[in-house]
Amino acid sequence: MRRRLDNRLLGLIAALTTLVVLNVAITPNFLNMQTLAVNASQVSTIAIVALGMTLVIASGGIDLSVGAVMAVAGALAPILFLSDWALANPALGLFAAITLPLCVAAICGVFNGTLISLLGVQPIVATLIFFISGRGIAQVMTNGNLQTFNNPSFTWLGTGRILGLPVQAWIALVLMLVIAWVVRRTLYGRYLLAIGGNERAAALAGVPVTRVKIATYAISAILAGLAGLIVVAINSASDAARIGQLMELDAIAASVVGGAALSGGRAPILGTVLGAVFIQLMDYTLIANGIPDEATLIVTAGIIVIAIWLQSGRRV
């Protein structure tokens, strides 16, 4: 497995390098800190959500609810820190505005995981429930209003810089390292790959399939919730109807381009982040060179098709 993953990863890195070289040659002002920061800030939320998606896909499932969970978390945060209580206790309020939405997201994930592992509902159907209802819940919470705010400590999450890089890019990087370690070195990671690879055999070897699956959907939802907070922080505004829209598809695309197999059993964490970066950079290249949005979408789709074709071609 390792050898083949390396091949795939090498291919992705080669494609990325080509794209960078191409941009250096043709895109004006490509090599400057501002360009890097813009791209990094845009790709981070997708990468964070895609990390969770890759875990879910590795278990043999899929999570369509991530965009809606982002909306719920993103709608809840401003409600919390704009409340009278939070205004009276700014530090505690900020803490609650970050942790509570993540807890709510976790509950959504546990709900998904329970439906799937205990009741045997198909992942695509189970997560469709939140895909449809989650955004509705978020809009009900905010009465459908756009919530704008001015809270520098919260918006730092989306607009702050550390060593010139956006905060959310650092968050994505740290998460990537942590999750890569979890997949390689922990009981949970090994169990996840075993379940995705052959669920029956895993159960017979004593793997706690139900628990691992519920945990996986919970992690995916928490990461989506975090991405929701970041999106709200970037905009200093929360629009329940827009946060995380179509994010599930971006995340799946990043996972697949990164080398995840929808049949399960593989969790290419570095590949997922590189996949997200690749798609982002491709879009940027086209837009920066004056190619219209519509064409960009078509090219993105083309890349996904190529990635899937490469995968199916290499399968034994």
Binding site: M1, R2, R185, T186, L187, Y188, R190, Y191, L193, A194, G197, N198, R200, A201, A202, A203, L204, A205, G206, V207, P208, G265, R266, V316
Partner: protein, 523 residues
Amino acid sequence: MSGGRVRAAPLPSSENGPGMTEPLLQMTGITKSFGGVPALSDGNLTISAGEVHSIVGQNGAGKSTLIKILTGVYRRDGGTIRWRGRDVELRSPREAQEAGIATIYQELTLVPQRTVIENIVLGYEPRTRFGMIDWRAAEVRTREVLSRFAIDIDPHRPLGSYPTAIQQLVAIGRAASMNAHLLIMDEPTSSLDDREVDVLFGVIRQLRAQGTAVLYVSHFLDELFAICDGVTTLRDGRTTGEARIPDVTKLDLIAGMLGRSAEDIRAAGMTNLAIDSDPDGDTVLETRNLASDRRLRCLDLKVRSGQIVGLAGLLGSGRTEAARAIFGMDRTTAGQVSLQGQTRRISSPREAIGAGLAFLTEDRKTEGIIPDLSVRENLTLALLPRLSRMGVIDEAHERRIVEEFIKALGIKTANMDQPIRELSGGNQQKVLLGRWLALEPRLLILDEPTRGVDVGAKREIQAIIRDRVAKGCAVLLISSEFEELIEGANEIVVMQDGRSVRRLTNPGVTEDSLINAIATGTS
């Protein structure tokens, strides 16, 4: 060919003798090989109209090859097929079906979400003048089929809302309504309960009365005596006997499948049955009257530490089901299991492993290996909790253990990080054996541990098992290979129809006495 015939299974001349009309189906001298390996060297099968006929034979005897040639799935290499008085070529399942040979598969091939009517007419829908489906005619046809077999269901409801048995009857009805002259049923009762089996037999009798022939294949020999008229025995790719059911006994059939004569089995069988067993060693596992919701009816078993107890029986006798019930995979419905003298309720493999049990399953591919994971990850999968602290795997420790097992079991692999799917079957099996041995289980259940591995690996695997037993592990060994049981097991428990019916003690068991016990069972 005559040399291979079983004495106890003579061909009665009254049925197929000269002067009779030609039988419905006559397959003669059928040969077929796959990649140079002959699967059938002389297959013969004769079925008359309105006859319920069966084929028996061990795994690999050529049963399914012969049937697949008849249903057009495989093309024969040689031989002739006469069907309704003419030589025929059956080039595809479709052609066979159009010729009137219908197959009811083990896995139902209907559409459970659609209504009974839609299923009955599927692919052969009656049309109106305007090319639309004539639902009125479809319903009339469906009601005819249902009433013909006295199936009392609402044809407008989805097929999937009825139990498997009913669905199977609908499949049969559908085949019959398409003017099938021969219906092939492959293990039709494998998912039916006793009452449903009776209903199925009723339908088969009706088909017979209406002149339709049935080829009935089942591992449950008792069923053949309940429903069949004739039987063909296959062994090593050739037809070795044909007989009318009233003329043979179960012992004759088993003798024919195994390639010996019933007299030999009877003569050799009754002697050499020692009663007392190896007295030392604590009892590790004991089951009393154990039954499960999956064809295990009554299992009495005792395995001591340092002892190999064999489970013998024909396919379908409940050997694997016994293991599944003990290991917490199937729900037990009666009886009890005690481990080291204490009654335990084990409801999942995870609990079983915690209680010191290990189970090497028969189906390496679907229940054993995780193909994309490495040899190392596969080997330590069950042991992993003991190799980790706070959920973090101690990889150095893991590698040491895997290194040890690769050496001890002689696993041939490039390195421990090679994906297990790239290994040969024998080496995969050794890795899986290692997975369980690493746990140092008190009781190791082995289901056909050497099936499908080459001779060298087989001997090595057997040596590994012996070594563990010498160190005090208790082993429950399920095997279809008599040699393995006779040479390996201290005690052999014989199963029949989901019950443990006989206990033989080694030394003293001979191949003949074992075959006799498997054949006669209860008496």
